[in-house]
Protein backbone atom coordinates (compact mmCIF):
# COMPACT_ATOMS: atom_id res chain seq x y z
CA UNK A 1 0.00 0.00 0.00
CA UNK A 2 1.42 3.32 -0.95
CA UNK A 3 1.37 6.23 1.45
CA UNK A 4 -1.22 7.94 -0.63
CA UNK A 5 -3.58 4.98 -0.54
CA UNK A 6 -3.15 4.69 3.16
CA UNK A 7 -3.94 8.35 3.60
CA UNK A 8 -7.06 8.05 1.51
CA UNK A 9 -8.12 4.96 3.38
CA UNK A 10 -7.60 6.76 6.64
CA UNK A 11 -9.81 9.58 5.46
CA UNK A 12 -12.47 7.26 4.35
CA UNK A 13 -12.43 5.48 7.64
CA UNK A 14 -12.45 8.46 9.96
CA UNK A 15 -14.20 11.07 7.87
CA UNK A 16 -11.92 13.63 9.44
CA UNK A 17 -12.21 16.71 7.24
CA UNK A 18 -9.22 18.40 8.76
CA UNK A 19 -7.01 15.67 7.65
CA UNK A 20 -7.84 16.45 4.06
CA UNK A 21 -6.36 19.97 4.29
CA UNK A 22 -2.78 20.09 3.06
CA UNK A 23 -0.28 19.76 5.87
CA UNK A 24 1.80 22.85 5.29
CA UNK A 25 2.49 24.58 8.66
CA UNK A 26 4.66 23.27 11.41
CA UNK A 27 2.05 24.06 14.04
CA UNK A 28 -0.69 22.63 11.99
CA UNK A 29 1.35 19.59 11.39
CA UNK A 30 1.85 19.15 15.10
CA UNK A 31 -1.88 19.36 15.66
CA UNK A 32 -2.61 17.24 12.67
CA UNK A 33 -0.01 14.78 13.71
CA UNK A 34 -1.63 14.49 17.11
CA UNK A 35 -4.83 13.51 15.37
CA UNK A 36 -3.14 11.34 12.85
CA UNK A 37 -1.26 9.55 15.58
CA UNK A 38 -4.57 8.45 17.02
CA UNK A 39 -5.80 7.82 13.54
CA UNK A 40 -2.87 5.61 12.70
CA UNK A 41 -3.36 3.82 15.98
CA UNK A 42 -6.96 3.11 15.12
CA UNK A 43 -6.09 2.09 11.59
CA UNK A 44 -3.46 -0.27 12.84
CA UNK A 45 -5.77 -1.53 15.53
CA UNK A 46 -8.70 -2.19 13.27
CA UNK A 47 -6.62 -3.59 10.44
CA UNK A 48 -4.94 -6.05 12.75
CA UNK A 49 -8.28 -7.02 14.25
CA UNK A 50 -9.54 -7.75 10.76
CA UNK A 51 -6.41 -9.70 10.00
CA UNK A 52 -6.52 -11.55 13.29
CA UNK A 53 -10.20 -12.43 13.31
CA UNK A 54 -11.04 -12.80 9.65
CA UNK A 55 -8.01 -13.13 7.40
CA UNK A 56 -5.85 -15.25 9.67
CA UNK A 57 -8.36 -18.07 10.18
CA UNK A 58 -8.89 -18.22 6.42
CA UNK A 59 -5.16 -18.47 5.88
CA UNK A 60 -4.56 -20.88 8.72
CA UNK A 61 -6.84 -23.60 7.47
CA UNK A 62 -6.79 -25.32 4.15
CA UNK A 63 -10.06 -26.73 2.94
CA UNK A 64 -10.45 -30.24 1.70
CA UNK A 65 -13.47 -32.07 0.36
CA UNK A 66 -14.27 -35.54 1.57
CA UNK A 67 -13.70 -38.13 -1.17
CA UNK A 68 -17.41 -38.94 -1.02
CA UNK A 69 -20.19 -36.67 0.12
CA UNK A 70 -21.40 -39.00 2.83
CA UNK A 71 -24.99 -38.82 4.02
CA UNK A 72 -25.04 -39.75 7.69
CA UNK A 73 -28.74 -39.08 8.12
CA UNK A 74 -29.69 -41.50 5.37
CA UNK A 75 -27.46 -44.23 6.78
CA UNK A 76 -28.63 -43.83 10.35
CA UNK A 77 -32.19 -44.24 9.07
CA UNK A 78 -31.37 -47.45 7.25
CA UNK A 79 -29.17 -49.28 9.75
CA UNK A 80 -30.43 -51.06 12.83
CA UNK A 81 -28.07 -50.12 15.59
CA UNK A 82 -27.46 -46.44 15.07
CA UNK A 83 -23.86 -45.23 15.26
CA UNK A 84 -22.70 -48.66 16.48
CA UNK A 85 -23.65 -50.26 13.18
CA UNK A 86 -20.56 -48.83 11.55
CA UNK A 87 -18.58 -47.36 14.46
CA UNK A 88 -18.36 -50.28 16.82
CA UNK A 89 -16.19 -51.82 19.51
CA UNK A 90 -14.12 -54.81 18.58
CA UNK A 91 -13.86 -57.80 20.90
CA UNK A 92 -10.37 -56.73 21.94
CA UNK A 93 -11.81 -53.49 23.34
CA UNK A 94 -10.52 -51.26 20.59
CA UNK A 95 -12.85 -48.91 18.76
CA UNK A 96 -13.21 -49.28 15.03
CA UNK A 97 -13.48 -45.55 14.32
CA UNK A 98 -13.91 -44.73 10.66
CA UNK A 99 -15.20 -47.80 8.81
CA UNK A 100 -13.01 -49.73 6.44
CA UNK A 101 -14.05 -50.48 2.90
CA UNK A 102 -15.18 -53.99 3.81
CA UNK A 103 -17.98 -52.52 5.89
CA UNK A 104 -19.18 -50.44 2.96
CA UNK A 105 -18.93 -53.45 0.68
CA UNK A 106 -21.37 -55.31 2.92
CA UNK A 107 -24.20 -53.24 1.43
CA UNK A 108 -22.61 -51.49 -1.53
CA UNK A 109 -21.19 -54.41 -3.45
CA UNK A 110 -23.27 -52.93 -6.22
CA UNK A 111 -24.95 -49.55 -6.39
CA UNK A 112 -28.31 -49.57 -4.64
CA UNK A 113 -29.60 -46.32 -6.06
CA UNK A 114 -28.92 -43.57 -8.53
CA UNK A 115 -26.94 -41.25 -6.29
CA UNK A 116 -23.75 -40.20 -8.09
CA UNK A 117 -21.84 -40.27 -4.78
CA UNK A 118 -22.79 -43.90 -4.28
CA UNK A 119 -21.82 -44.69 -7.85
CA UNK A 120 -18.47 -43.08 -7.12
CA UNK A 121 -18.02 -45.30 -4.08
CA UNK A 122 -18.83 -48.44 -6.02
CA UNK A 123 -16.78 -47.62 -9.10
CA UNK A 124 -13.79 -45.89 -7.59
CA UNK A 125 -13.35 -47.81 -4.38
CA UNK A 126 -15.43 -50.99 -4.04
CA UNK A 127 -14.74 -52.27 -7.52
CA UNK A 128 -11.04 -51.44 -7.30
CA UNK A 129 -10.66 -52.65 -3.72
CA UNK A 130 -9.22 -49.31 -2.66
CA UNK A 131 -9.80 -47.90 0.79
CA UNK A 132 -11.72 -44.62 0.83
CA UNK A 133 -9.29 -41.93 2.04
CA UNK A 134 -11.73 -40.39 4.53
CA UNK A 135 -10.60 -37.24 6.26
CA UNK A 136 -11.18 -37.68 9.97
CA UNK A 137 -12.58 -34.57 11.63
CA UNK A 138 -11.82 -35.75 15.14
CA UNK A 139 -8.36 -37.21 14.70
CA UNK A 140 -6.12 -36.25 17.60
CA UNK A 141 -2.34 -35.81 17.36
CA UNK A 142 -0.33 -39.03 17.65
CA UNK A 143 0.70 -38.23 21.22
CA UNK A 144 -2.87 -38.72 22.43
CA UNK A 145 -4.26 -41.99 23.69
CA UNK A 146 -8.02 -41.95 23.97
CA UNK A 147 -10.03 -44.88 25.24
CA UNK A 148 -13.48 -45.03 23.70
CA UNK A 149 -14.18 -48.07 25.87
CA UNK A 150 -13.63 -46.15 29.11
CA UNK A 151 -15.91 -43.33 28.03
CA UNK A 152 -18.64 -45.12 26.13
CA UNK A 153 -18.73 -48.47 27.89
CA UNK A 154 -17.81 -47.58 31.43
CA UNK A 155 -18.94 -43.94 31.72
CA UNK A 156 -21.90 -44.53 29.38
CA UNK A 157 -21.29 -41.32 27.51
CA UNK A 158 -23.19 -40.54 24.33
CA UNK A 159 -21.29 -40.18 21.07
CA UNK A 160 -22.91 -36.77 20.63
CA UNK A 161 -21.20 -35.35 23.70
CA UNK A 162 -17.89 -35.14 21.90
CA UNK A 163 -18.75 -35.69 18.26
CA UNK A 164 -21.92 -33.61 18.04
CA UNK A 165 -24.96 -34.46 15.99
CA UNK A 166 -22.93 -35.60 13.02
CA UNK A 167 -25.35 -38.46 12.55
CA UNK A 168 -27.99 -35.98 11.44
CA UNK A 169 -25.95 -34.44 8.67
CA UNK A 170 -26.93 -35.22 5.12
CA UNK A 171 -23.75 -33.87 3.56
CA UNK A 172 -20.14 -34.22 4.51
CA UNK A 173 -18.88 -30.83 5.46
CA UNK A 174 -15.59 -29.42 4.31
CA UNK A 175 -12.62 -30.76 6.21
CA UNK A 176 -10.38 -27.96 7.37
CA UNK A 177 -6.76 -28.73 8.12
CA UNK A 178 -4.47 -26.54 10.15
CA UNK A 179 -1.55 -25.59 7.93
CA UNK A 180 0.87 -25.40 10.81
CA UNK A 181 -0.01 -28.55 12.70
CA UNK A 182 -1.73 -30.60 10.05
CA UNK A 183 -4.55 -31.27 12.50
CA UNK A 184 -8.28 -31.00 11.85
CA UNK A 185 -9.98 -27.73 12.74
CA UNK A 186 -12.53 -29.62 14.83
CA UNK A 187 -9.94 -30.09 17.56
CA UNK A 188 -9.52 -26.37 18.15
CA UNK A 189 -13.12 -25.75 17.18
CA UNK A 190 -14.85 -23.72 14.56
CA UNK A 191 -14.72 -20.61 16.71
CA UNK A 192 -11.31 -19.07 16.25
CA UNK A 193 -11.37 -17.62 19.75
CA UNK A 194 -11.72 -21.11 21.09
CA UNK A 195 -15.13 -20.34 22.55
CA UNK A 196 -17.85 -22.90 22.45
CA UNK A 197 -21.51 -23.29 22.98
CA UNK A 198 -21.80 -27.03 22.88
CA UNK A 199 -19.73 -29.71 24.54
CA UNK A 200 -18.69 -30.99 21.12
CA UNK A 201 -17.48 -27.69 19.72
CA UNK A 202 -13.85 -28.27 20.74
CA UNK A 203 -11.71 -31.34 21.46
CA UNK A 204 -8.66 -29.87 23.16
CA UNK A 205 -7.21 -31.08 26.44
CA UNK A 206 -9.20 -28.33 28.19
CA UNK A 207 -12.35 -30.14 27.15
CA UNK A 208 -11.07 -33.33 28.76
CA UNK A 209 -10.15 -31.41 31.87
CA UNK A 210 -13.52 -29.70 32.02
CA UNK A 211 -15.26 -32.99 32.71
CA UNK A 212 -12.46 -34.57 34.65
CA UNK A 213 -12.17 -31.66 37.04
CA UNK A 214 -15.65 -32.33 38.38
CA UNK A 215 -15.54 -34.16 41.69
CA UNK A 216 -17.44 -37.20 40.51
CA UNK A 217 -15.06 -37.96 37.69
CA UNK A 218 -11.91 -36.87 39.48
CA UNK A 219 -11.97 -40.05 41.51
CA UNK A 220 -11.54 -42.02 38.33
CA UNK A 221 -9.11 -39.94 36.35
CA UNK A 222 -8.26 -36.47 37.42
CA UNK A 223 -6.51 -34.27 34.93
CA UNK A 224 -5.30 -30.77 34.74
CA UNK A 225 -3.94 -29.04 31.67
CA UNK A 226 -0.42 -27.71 32.07
CA UNK A 227 -1.70 -24.15 31.84
CA UNK A 228 -4.36 -24.75 34.47
CA UNK A 229 -1.73 -26.41 36.63
CA UNK A 230 0.47 -23.36 36.27
CA UNK A 231 -2.27 -21.03 37.49
CA UNK A 232 -3.30 -23.40 40.25
CA UNK A 233 0.30 -23.51 41.43
CA UNK A 234 0.40 -19.73 41.60
CA UNK A 235 -2.79 -19.72 43.62
CA UNK A 236 -1.42 -22.42 45.89
CA UNK A 237 1.74 -20.40 46.46
CA UNK A 238 -0.10 -17.13 46.94
CA UNK A 239 -2.73 -18.48 49.26
CA UNK A 240 -1.23 -21.43 51.08
CA UNK A 241 -3.68 -23.74 52.70
CA UNK A 242 -6.46 -23.11 50.22
CA UNK A 243 -5.90 -26.19 48.06
CA UNK A 244 -8.60 -28.73 48.38
CA UNK A 245 -7.63 -31.98 49.99
CA UNK A 246 -7.93 -34.55 47.30
CA UNK A 247 -6.68 -37.86 46.15
CA UNK A 248 -3.14 -37.51 44.93
CA UNK A 249 -2.62 -39.85 42.08
CA UNK A 250 0.80 -38.77 41.03
CA UNK A 251 3.78 -36.94 42.30
CA UNK A 252 4.44 -34.17 39.82
CA UNK A 253 0.96 -33.13 38.82
CA UNK A 254 -0.82 -34.31 41.94
CA UNK A 255 -3.27 -35.68 39.46
CA UNK A 256 -3.31 -38.64 37.17
CA UNK A 257 0.01 -39.49 35.56
CA UNK A 258 0.13 -38.09 32.04
CA UNK A 259 0.47 -41.65 30.69
CA UNK A 260 -3.23 -42.27 30.93
CA UNK A 261 -3.99 -40.07 27.95
CA UNK A 262 -0.60 -39.57 26.33
CA UNK A 263 1.56 -42.04 24.53
Amino acid sequence: MSKKDEKEKAIALTGDSEASSPPDGAKKEENGSGGSILLFFIVGFIASLIVGWIVFPKLLYSQKKQPIDFNHALHVETVDEGCQSCHFFRDDGSFSGVPKLTQCTGCHEEAQGEDPEETKLVEEYVAKGREVPWLVYSRQPNCVFFSHAAHVKMAKMECVTCHGPIGESSHARIYEENRITGISRDIWGKNIAGLKRNSWDRMKMDECAECHASEAIKTEVSIETPMLGFFNNIIRLAFPGTEKPGRKNSVQTQHEACFVCHK
Partner: protein, 267 residues
Protein backbone atom coordinates in the same frame (compact mmCIF):
# COMPACT_ATOMS: atom_id res chain seq x y z
CA UNK B 1 -13.88 -45.82 45.22
CA UNK B 2 -14.46 -48.67 42.87
CA UNK B 3 -10.84 -49.50 42.31
CA UNK B 4 -9.40 -48.60 45.62
CA UNK B 5 -6.63 -51.11 45.56
CA UNK B 6 -3.60 -49.28 44.19
CA UNK B 7 -1.45 -51.41 41.94
CA UNK B 8 2.28 -51.55 42.10
CA UNK B 9 3.48 -53.13 38.90
CA UNK B 10 6.91 -54.60 39.11
CA UNK B 11 9.23 -57.23 37.76
CA UNK B 12 11.20 -60.12 39.16
CA UNK B 13 14.02 -61.37 36.98
CA UNK B 14 15.53 -64.76 37.70
CA UNK B 15 19.24 -64.41 36.94
CA UNK B 16 19.75 -68.14 37.31
CA UNK B 17 17.43 -68.67 34.37
CA UNK B 18 18.50 -65.64 32.33
CA UNK B 19 20.82 -66.85 29.57
CA UNK B 20 21.82 -63.44 28.26
CA UNK B 21 20.38 -64.26 24.85
CA UNK B 22 19.08 -60.72 24.34
CA UNK B 23 15.55 -61.69 23.24
CA UNK B 24 14.08 -59.26 25.80
CA UNK B 25 16.02 -56.42 24.20
CA UNK B 26 14.69 -57.13 20.74
CA UNK B 27 11.17 -57.86 22.02
CA UNK B 28 11.27 -54.40 23.56
CA UNK B 29 12.63 -52.76 20.40
CA UNK B 30 9.99 -54.39 18.23
CA UNK B 31 7.14 -53.49 20.58
CA UNK B 32 8.15 -49.94 21.40
CA UNK B 33 9.32 -48.60 18.02
CA UNK B 34 12.89 -48.20 19.24
CA UNK B 35 15.02 -46.65 16.51
CA UNK B 36 18.29 -48.09 15.26
CA UNK B 37 21.32 -46.63 13.55
CA UNK B 38 23.98 -48.07 11.33
CA UNK B 39 26.49 -48.12 14.15
CA UNK B 40 25.15 -48.97 17.56
CA UNK B 41 28.45 -49.90 19.14
CA UNK B 42 28.72 -46.66 21.08
CA UNK B 43 26.58 -47.87 23.93
CA UNK B 44 26.25 -44.40 25.42
CA UNK B 45 23.98 -43.25 22.63
CA UNK B 46 22.46 -46.61 21.73
CA UNK B 47 18.82 -46.58 22.80
CA UNK B 48 17.86 -49.82 24.53
CA UNK B 49 15.06 -49.47 27.06
CA UNK B 50 15.88 -52.97 28.10
CA UNK B 51 19.60 -53.69 28.22
CA UNK B 52 21.33 -56.89 29.24
CA UNK B 53 24.58 -56.26 31.06
CA UNK B 54 27.27 -58.82 31.67
CA UNK B 55 28.70 -59.21 35.16
CA UNK B 56 31.84 -61.14 35.94
CA UNK B 57 33.12 -62.35 39.26
CA UNK B 58 36.55 -60.98 38.39
CA UNK B 59 38.36 -64.23 39.10
CA UNK B 60 41.04 -65.57 36.78
CA UNK B 61 40.67 -68.63 34.55
CA UNK B 62 39.28 -71.18 35.27
CA UNK B 63 37.50 -69.73 38.31
CA UNK B 64 35.83 -67.11 36.14
CA UNK B 65 32.08 -66.83 36.16
CA UNK B 66 29.75 -64.57 34.27
CA UNK B 67 26.15 -63.62 34.83
CA UNK B 68 23.77 -61.60 32.68
CA UNK B 69 21.52 -58.98 34.16
CA UNK B 70 18.67 -57.43 32.17
CA UNK B 71 18.04 -53.82 33.12
CA UNK B 72 14.72 -52.18 32.27
CA UNK B 73 13.61 -48.94 33.94
CA UNK B 74 13.36 -49.69 37.64
CA UNK B 75 10.25 -47.54 38.07
CA UNK B 76 11.59 -46.37 41.41
CA UNK B 77 9.07 -45.48 44.01
CA UNK B 78 11.64 -43.68 46.12
CA UNK B 79 9.96 -42.20 49.14
CA UNK B 80 6.25 -41.99 48.30
CA UNK B 81 6.81 -41.69 44.62
CA UNK B 82 9.72 -39.26 44.72
CA UNK B 83 11.85 -41.25 42.36
CA UNK B 84 15.15 -39.66 41.34
CA UNK B 85 14.07 -38.69 37.84
CA UNK B 86 10.57 -37.47 38.65
CA UNK B 87 11.88 -35.13 41.32
CA UNK B 88 14.16 -33.27 38.94
CA UNK B 89 12.02 -32.94 35.82
CA UNK B 90 11.33 -29.24 35.24
CA UNK B 91 8.89 -29.94 32.41
CA UNK B 92 6.47 -32.27 34.16
CA UNK B 93 7.30 -34.71 31.44
CA UNK B 94 7.89 -37.62 33.76
CA UNK B 95 5.65 -38.57 36.61
CA UNK B 96 5.05 -41.29 39.15
CA UNK B 97 1.58 -42.78 39.19
CA UNK B 98 0.36 -43.89 42.59
CA UNK B 99 -2.30 -45.96 40.89
CA UNK B 100 0.02 -48.25 38.98
CA UNK B 101 3.46 -47.43 40.33
CA UNK B 102 4.67 -46.70 36.83
CA UNK B 103 7.02 -43.85 36.03
CA UNK B 104 5.66 -42.26 32.90
CA UNK B 105 7.52 -40.33 30.26
CA UNK B 106 5.63 -38.00 27.93
CA UNK B 107 7.77 -37.31 24.91
CA UNK B 108 5.82 -34.32 23.66
CA UNK B 109 6.23 -32.68 27.02
CA UNK B 110 9.96 -33.34 27.34
CA UNK B 111 12.26 -30.57 26.18
CA UNK B 112 15.42 -32.54 26.44
CA UNK B 113 17.26 -30.98 29.41
CA UNK B 114 18.40 -34.48 30.47
CA UNK B 115 18.32 -33.74 34.20
CA UNK B 116 16.49 -37.03 34.61
CA UNK B 117 19.33 -38.87 32.90
CA UNK B 118 21.79 -37.37 35.30
CA UNK B 119 19.54 -38.27 38.20
CA UNK B 120 18.89 -41.87 37.19
CA UNK B 121 21.43 -44.14 38.88
CA UNK B 122 20.58 -47.03 36.54
CA UNK B 123 21.30 -45.42 33.16
CA UNK B 124 17.80 -46.42 32.18
CA UNK B 125 17.07 -43.21 30.33
CA UNK B 126 18.16 -42.39 26.81
CA UNK B 127 18.36 -39.21 24.83
CA UNK B 128 17.44 -39.00 21.17
CA UNK B 129 20.48 -37.35 19.69
CA UNK B 130 19.15 -37.93 16.20
CA UNK B 131 15.81 -38.10 14.51
CA UNK B 132 14.79 -41.71 14.17
CA UNK B 133 15.12 -43.02 10.64
CA UNK B 134 13.54 -46.22 9.42
CA UNK B 135 14.98 -47.47 6.15
CA UNK B 136 12.46 -47.21 3.36
CA UNK B 137 9.66 -49.71 3.99
CA UNK B 138 10.66 -50.55 7.54
CA UNK B 139 8.26 -48.02 9.01
CA UNK B 140 5.62 -50.60 8.09
CA UNK B 141 6.27 -52.61 11.24
CA UNK B 142 5.83 -49.67 13.60
CA UNK B 143 3.39 -50.25 16.44
CA UNK B 144 0.54 -47.73 16.43
CA UNK B 145 0.10 -48.03 20.20
CA UNK B 146 3.44 -46.38 20.86
CA UNK B 147 4.30 -43.05 19.33
CA UNK B 148 7.73 -42.82 17.71
CA UNK B 149 9.94 -40.29 19.42
CA UNK B 150 11.59 -37.31 17.83
CA UNK B 151 15.07 -35.85 18.19
CA UNK B 152 15.75 -33.97 21.38
CA UNK B 153 13.67 -35.90 23.88
CA UNK B 154 14.42 -38.47 26.55
CA UNK B 155 12.83 -41.88 26.47
CA UNK B 156 12.82 -44.97 28.64
CA UNK B 157 11.07 -48.23 29.44
CA UNK B 158 7.36 -47.75 30.17
CA UNK B 159 6.62 -51.28 31.42
CA UNK B 160 4.73 -51.43 28.10
CA UNK B 161 2.05 -49.22 29.59
CA UNK B 162 0.17 -49.21 26.28
CA UNK B 163 -0.46 -52.90 26.86
CA UNK B 164 -2.11 -51.94 30.14
CA UNK B 165 -4.27 -49.46 28.27
CA UNK B 166 -5.28 -51.98 25.66
CA UNK B 167 -5.99 -54.62 28.30
CA UNK B 168 -8.13 -52.12 30.21
CA UNK B 169 -10.07 -51.36 27.02
CA UNK B 170 -10.88 -55.03 26.68
CA UNK B 171 -11.86 -55.23 30.33
CA UNK B 172 -14.11 -52.18 29.97
CA UNK B 173 -15.88 -53.65 26.97
CA UNK B 174 -16.44 -56.79 29.02
CA UNK B 175 -17.67 -54.71 31.94
CA UNK B 176 -14.65 -55.28 34.18
CA UNK B 177 -12.35 -52.86 35.93
CA UNK B 178 -9.72 -55.33 37.09
CA UNK B 179 -7.13 -57.16 35.03
CA UNK B 180 -5.99 -60.73 35.38
CA UNK B 181 -2.27 -61.24 35.84
CA UNK B 182 -1.78 -62.60 32.33
CA UNK B 183 -3.77 -59.82 30.66
CA UNK B 184 -1.10 -57.24 31.21
CA UNK B 185 2.42 -58.48 30.55
CA UNK B 186 5.34 -56.54 29.18
CA UNK B 187 6.77 -57.49 25.81
CA UNK B 188 10.03 -58.69 27.36
CA UNK B 189 8.31 -60.86 29.96
CA UNK B 190 6.15 -62.40 27.28
CA UNK B 191 9.04 -63.08 24.93
CA UNK B 192 11.73 -64.37 27.32
CA UNK B 193 12.33 -67.91 26.07
CA UNK B 194 13.73 -68.92 29.46
CA UNK B 195 10.76 -67.63 31.41
CA UNK B 196 13.19 -65.61 33.53
CA UNK B 197 11.10 -62.45 33.68
CA UNK B 198 7.98 -62.34 35.83
CA UNK B 199 5.77 -59.26 35.70
CA UNK B 200 2.72 -58.31 37.73
CA UNK B 201 1.33 -56.44 40.70
CA UNK B 202 3.74 -56.49 43.62
CA UNK B 203 0.86 -55.66 45.95
CA UNK B 204 -1.19 -58.66 44.87
CA UNK B 205 -0.31 -61.80 46.82
CA UNK B 206 -1.74 -63.93 44.02
CA UNK B 207 0.76 -62.59 41.51
CA UNK B 208 4.02 -64.41 40.84
CA UNK B 209 6.10 -61.30 41.41
CA UNK B 210 4.74 -60.88 44.92
CA UNK B 211 5.37 -64.52 45.73
CA UNK B 212 8.91 -64.46 44.36
CA UNK B 213 10.11 -61.16 45.80
CA UNK B 214 7.98 -60.96 48.94
CA UNK B 215 8.33 -57.19 49.08
CA UNK B 216 8.11 -55.58 52.49
CA UNK B 217 6.17 -52.41 51.88
CA UNK B 218 6.76 -51.25 55.44
CA UNK B 219 10.47 -51.14 54.69
CA UNK B 220 10.67 -49.50 51.30
CA UNK B 221 9.69 -52.64 49.42
CA UNK B 222 12.78 -54.58 50.50
CA UNK B 223 12.58 -58.23 49.50
CA UNK B 224 12.05 -60.78 52.25
CA UNK B 225 13.28 -63.60 50.04
CA UNK B 226 17.01 -63.87 50.85
CA UNK B 227 17.90 -64.82 47.27
CA UNK B 228 16.24 -61.69 45.94
CA UNK B 229 17.95 -58.32 45.67
CA UNK B 230 17.52 -54.97 44.01
CA UNK B 231 20.12 -52.86 42.25
CA UNK B 232 21.77 -50.19 44.37
CA UNK B 233 19.44 -50.97 47.26
CA UNK B 234 21.39 -48.66 49.52
CA UNK B 235 20.49 -45.57 47.55
CA UNK B 236 16.92 -45.85 48.76
CA UNK B 237 15.46 -45.50 45.29
CA UNK B 238 12.98 -48.22 46.13
CA UNK B 239 13.02 -49.78 42.66
CA UNK B 240 10.29 -52.14 41.49
CA UNK B 241 12.54 -54.49 39.60
CA UNK B 242 13.80 -57.38 41.72
CA UNK B 243 16.43 -59.93 40.84
CA UNK B 244 16.79 -63.54 41.97
CA UNK B 245 20.16 -65.22 42.11
CA UNK B 246 21.40 -68.22 43.98
CA UNK B 247 24.97 -66.97 43.56
CA UNK B 248 26.24 -64.74 46.29
CA UNK B 249 28.76 -62.88 44.14
CA UNK B 250 25.95 -61.83 41.85
CA UNK B 251 23.88 -60.52 44.74
CA UNK B 252 26.89 -58.63 46.01
CA UNK B 253 27.48 -57.15 42.58
CA UNK B 254 24.04 -55.55 42.76
CA UNK B 255 25.34 -52.96 45.19
CA UNK B 256 28.67 -51.57 46.40
CA UNK B 257 29.15 -53.64 49.48
CA UNK B 258 32.02 -53.40 51.87
CA UNK B 259 33.94 -56.59 52.44
CA UNK B 260 32.34 -57.31 55.82
CA UNK B 261 28.83 -56.37 54.73
CA UNK B 262 26.13 -58.88 54.00
CA UNK B 263 24.12 -58.41 50.84
CA UNK B 264 20.40 -58.20 51.39
CA UNK B 265 20.91 -56.78 54.85
CA UNK B 266 21.58 -53.19 53.96
CA UNK B 267 20.60 -50.30 56.29
Amino acid sequence: MKNDQAKKYGMVIDLDKCTGCGACMVACMAENNIPFKEDESNKLDSITWMRVYQLTNGKPYPETDICYIPRPCMHCEGDHGHSPCVSVCPATATDYSQKTGIVSQIYTRCFGCRYCMAACPYHARYFNWWDPVWPNGMEKFLNPSVSPRMRGVVEKCSFCFHRHQLAMNKAFVEGRRELEENEYQTSCAQACPSGAIAFGDLNNPKHTVNQLAQPDNAHGGQPKNPEVFRLLEKLGTNPKVYYVSSREWVRRAGDNYLKNENPGKAH
